[in-house]
Amino acid sequence: MKVVVCVKQIPDPANPGALDPNTHLLVRDDKLILDESDSYGVEMALQLVEAAGGGSVHLVSMAPRSETSGLRTALAMGAEDAVLVSDDALAGSDALSTAKVLAKAVERYSPDLVLAGTESSDGYTGTVPEQVAALLGWPSLGFAKKIDVADGTVTVERQTDAGYDVVSAPTPCLATVTAGVVEPRYPSFKGIMAAKKKPVDEVGLGDLGLEGVGGANSGQATVKVEEAPAREAGEIIEDEGEAHLRIVEFLEGLKAI
């Protein structure tokens, strides 16, 4: 079984960066890391291939400046190789552009299954994976909290508002995994060393034969960035044994009790 995982490389959320006041683009100067949201997809792919008794896990990523640090983490976890799409023209891509790029990259592998995160930590549009599936003409199983593959059929438990649905689709198909579905493994020292030598095929838009994507072709534009009205500063008290009484008083004031 061949699984491709879409992995986004993002600025470390512990150091979120800022919006450039002129271009309205996120300024991300530091090294990029593997989006934690996608570490679940990588782990799930590795487990599914193991359960299937064989196969391979590949990665696709679109990132600026030939960035591979996040990919290396996923390779160290056990993925075999990666296609990285990096092209200056892709700066400022909207979700649809990103999906067009990823779909082309996925096609290079002709996988049985593509996994992605339900939403990325920094962009969180939550639409890229479904758009990738649509571009490929595939079914997609979103918000999976459990995935099984057997006899060319992928079955997932799809999170719903009320509980979950059991949904199946034939391969090839795409699924998105919710955070926490599996426990992502820590790369071993051996894995980290091996990852350094694993192939990352870097391609540009020309290599993918794609036109009409990227920031210059975006169908949406940021017109304003503004401070949201801040909440008024509240009352902060230190508990010295009686603070619960202040809560009771507060609730009484609101006629909640």
């Binding site: 919006l19 309205h24 909207d94 979700a95 649809l96 939403e119 969180y124 549009t125 939550g126 639409t127 890229v128 479904e130 758009q131 599936a133 649509a134 003409g137 595939w138 079914p139 997609s140 199983l141 979103g142 918000f143 799809r158 508002d161 009320a162 509980g163 059991v166 949904v167 689709a169 034939p170 919710t178 955070a179 926490g180 975006s218 949406q220 534009a221 940021t222 017109v223 304003k224 503004e226 401070e227 949201a228 909440r231 008024e232 509240g234 009352e235 902060i236 008290i237 230190e238 508990d239 603070a243 619960h244 009484l245 202040r246 809560i247 009771v248 507060f250 609101l254 909640a256 009790i257």
Partner: protein
């Protein structure tokens, strides 16, 4: 630019009512002054009354989808109809099915979809969507630049649902074209988790707990207080991922958006992804032992203290009041 025609993709609850998010979208659509059609993945008759009451003139209904997921089916159906009806704007809730349908339609029409909206306005020739970032401290306003229908995903609780007192909407069949392989997914079972007490996103009071509770068993401090106050219990993703409580309790970007009159946060740091789900609460009480915790930035009443001390005493004091 005035908008002539808006489609609102409406969803229903398991018991057949129109989902609150869809009524919220209808309220906003009415404000924008266009003719409004509601789109339903399923039969339209049972919801035509409620959708009409909230401002929809027609209900475009696919009829029973026979277990197919709404994304590819409704996406393809709307793409076909858009060719003849050219809606100016299509509104979706930022929900499981809303995202899927919007994404499929976006590819079919080759237009972008603006996501995570909390407000929407017509400004000159632009339709502008407001999206909060950095935990709601900054708003980004994004306008559509592509030709064709404008697609926007709107977060729940962005607008107030309000009846317009309209009569039932006319039900019109929405033809679903053959979706081929893309539409091959089938739902075989639906599991509805049992709920007791008020629903998290409808409750007037929410008591939520985070990792500061220390361990799963201590969630009883949160549950107990919620029971005393007639509130719904909520949680951070940290403790949902840790398996302490079910996902249905998660508040935040990937969970529920709540706007109760009172939100009590116990042992919650106030990460941006949590804040976007509860910052709209009218009154916020936070208990956290770290005076620097970001949750205090949005709290009306902040208690710097240990949940294991404050919560039991609070429960006792409320008990004593009877």
């Amino acid at each position: 630019m005035a908008l002539d025609k808006i489609w609102v993709v409406a969803e229903t609850t398991p018991d057949g009512a129109v989902a609150t998010i869809s009524l919220e979208l209808l309220a906003k659509a009415r404000e924008l002054g266009a003719s409004i059609d509601a789109v339903v993945a399923g039969p339209g008759d049972a919801v035509a009354g409620e959708l009409g009451e909230h401002g929809a003139t027609r209900v475009l209904a696919t009829g029973d989808l026979d277990g197919a997921l709404p994304g590819p089916a409704v996406g393809a159906a709307l793409a076909e109809l858009a060719a003849s009806e050219s809606p100016d704007l299509v509104l979706f809730g930022q929900t499981y099915d809303g995202r899927d349908i919007a994404a499929r339609l976006s590819v079919a029409l080759d237009v972008p979809v603006i996501t995570n909206g909390v407000d929407l306005a017509v400004e000159g020739d632009d339709v502008v969507v407001t999206e909060p970032i950095f935990g709601g401290t900054v708003n980004i306003l994004t306008a559509f630049r592509a030709e064709g229908p404008k697609l926007a995903l709107i977060r729940p609780k962005s607008f107030a649902a309000e009846s317009a007192g309209g009569g039932a909407a006319e039900v019109v069949a929405l033809a679903v074209p053959d979706t081929g392989a893309a539409g091959a997914a089938r739902v075989s079972e639906r599991h509805v988790e049992e709920r007791t007490g008020p629903q998290l996103d409808e409750a007037d009071i929410v008591v939520a707990g985070g990792r500061g509770l220390g361990e799963a068993d201590n969630f009883s401090l949160v549950q107990g207080l919620a029971d005393q106050l007639g509130a719904a219990p909520g949680a951070t993703r940290a403790i949902v991922d840790a398996g302490w409580v079910p996902y249905a309790m998660q508040v935040g970007q990937t969970g529920k958006v709540v706007k109760p009159s009172i939100y009590i946060a116990a042992g919650i740091s106030g990460a941006t992804q949590h804040l976007v789900g509860m910052k709209g609460s009218k009154h916020i009480v936070a208990i956290n032992k770290d005076p620097e915790a970001p949750i205090f930035g949005v709290a009306d009443l902040g208690i710097v203290g240990d949940v294991h001390k404050v919560m039991p005493k609070l429960a006792e004091a409320l008990e004593a009041r009877g």
